[in-house]
């Protein structure tokens, strides 16, 4: 099941990645209460999320260990007792030890 828009915004916000919707002048579009309309910085069609156990060797989580694609964006945190790894595009994850689980909703 795909991520909902709410879930996408939640994950984007955790990494400081929501952005205001902008008009043709680059100004933020506001709702009737004056607040910006936010859009997720991550693309629902391309981003990838993985979990890993809290106790995995942290050196296995270095970007250089996870992907050969240097251009892919990478964010990570510890949440609900697990590692959460987020990529803005498919990293073709290197998982030789089978320690990652893809999150899909």
């Amino acid at each position: 099941m795909a991520f909902t828009d709410e879930r996408l915004l939640e994950i984007s916000d955790r990494y400081g990645l929501t952005t205001p919707l902008v008009d043709e002048n680059g100004d933020g579009v506001r709702d009737e209460d004056g607040n910006f309309t936010l859009v997720a910085g991550l693309n629902k069609d391309t981003f990838k999320v993985y979990n890993a156990d809290k106790n995995v060797d942290i050196n296995l989580l270095k970007k250089t260990m996870l992907t050969n694609n240097n251009d892919v964006g990478y964010w990570a945190t510890m949440i609900n007792g697990k590692w959460e790894l987020v990529f803005d595009a498919d990293p073709n994850l290197i998982d030789t030890n089978s320690i990652f689980t893809e999150v899909q909703e």
Partner: protein, 370 residues
């Protein structure tokens, strides 16, 4: 250590390697080939920084340990990348600025924010002859500032900088890194503007300020997150680092306020330069021009106000980048021109009526920890 490096002729690989060799004292200024250099002071404690880039890379990378690193209680490390690509740029587009990330290489500052360094990235190439780089390199603090090679119009000369400073650790920090191994008690402050050698008000002197912490702990729900940087007005120069009306987002600021100029201190002998320890304010965006505050919880930093070790905001008009002052104990502090001070509300107008330049100072050598 303070280092000033002026680019002569060289490739990105050669320039970054030469800067790295100077910072790590592999060579001295008399040995430079691709530029000219001035070094003042001594380097950091061995083991604090580990150089991870090689002479074939287009950037200069260090892994930095926290100044109070302890393998058991405070295993805090992070990555500093000189000429790091940011603003969503691809690896073929390198900025003349400093990239910040956690020790995994994740949670990169500015990954999605073209506003932050876009002028520096778009206005200059990091190896153009005459481009100046100024660094502070000590145990607590890494500062990098770039000054565009001078052109016929000084008012249009771009400069941009990043200050990275550690916080003094507390029992809270030991708890936090136990919860999240990416936690690091430290933060970045960034600025970008024009006319670096003009400290006073005038047309065309604009500014940008931002503050960044990766993996700070949200005081509201205890989750770890990255702070926000400003995203709008990618073509404008005049903003101070947060989106108005995003009152609950984690936009951090500074004390003394980034919006206000900061002048002399006074005594029986008249005025003298004031030095105030620089703090990151993690409370959230300021609301100087709003009639109401946020109605829902702000994603504020559990650490709230954080002194950035060996980092000072000093009286404006005291000098410009590369000048120095000495305190009565002969400690030498190098000055770095900062952002322009101005109103905190960015997006409703193009604020050309800007104010004095903020001024920062950092000791050239390590200073004994508190």
């Amino acid at each position: 250590m303070y280092l000033k490096y002026t680019v002569g002729t060289g490739t990105r690989e050669q320039i970054q390697t030469e800067i790295g060799d100077l910072l790590t004292e592999v060579i001295t200024p008399s040995n430079t080939v691709y530029g000219t250099a001035v070094v003042d002071g001594t380097g950091p404690t061995a083991g604090t920084y580990t150089r991870t880039s090689t002479s074939t890379d287009k950037h200069l990378s260090f892994t930095k340990k926290h100044a109070q690193y302890d393998a058991v209680t405070m295993p805090a490390e992070m990555i500093l990348k000189v000429f790091g690509n940011d603003a969503g740029a691809t690896s073929s587009s390198y900025t003349p600025t400093l990239q910040i990330s956690d020790k995994l290489g994740s949670n990169v500052m500015g990954e999605y924010f073209p506003g932050n360094y876009s002028h520096a990235a778009n206005s200059m190439d990091q190896v153009t002859s005459g481009t100046e780089y100024h660094f502070i390199f000590n145990d607590t603090t890494f500062v990098m500032q770039v000054l565009q090679a001078q052109t016929s119009s000084a008012a249009n000369q771009v400069y941009a900088g990043t200050i990275w400073s550690d916080f003094e650790i507390t029992a809270y920090d030991e708890y936090a890194i136990g919860e999240n191994p990416l936690y690091y008690p430290g933060c970045a402050m960034i600025h970008q503007q024009r006319d670096p050698n003009n400290s006073t008000t005038g047309s065309g002197q604009n500014g940008f300020f931002g503050a960044y912490r990766f993996q700070y702990q949200n005081q509201y729900n205890g989750e770890f997150a990255n702070s926000y940087l400003y995203t709008l007005k990618t073509d404008a120069w005049n903003f101070v680092g947060f989106d108005d009306s995003r009152k609950t987002a984690a936009y951090f600021s500074s004390i003394p306020s980034q919006t206000q100029p900061f002048f002399q201190t006074w005594g029986p002998s008249g005025s003298s330069i004031a030095m105030v320890p620089l703090q990151m304010d993690g409370q959230g965006p300021p609301y100087f021009n709003s009639s109401t505050g946020p109605s829902t919880p702000v994603a504020a930093d559990s650490r709230w106000h954080n002194v950035m070790l060996n980092s000072y905001r000093i009286s404006t008009l005291s000098g410009v980048t590369g000048d120095y002052i000495e305190t009565s104990d002969n400690t030498r502090y190098y000055m770095f021109s900062g952002h322009r001070t101005m109103t905190a509300q960015p997006e409703t107008a193009n604020y050309n009526s800007v104010n004095y330049q903020a001024l920062y100072a950092f000791p050239r050598n390590n200073v004994v920890m508190p």
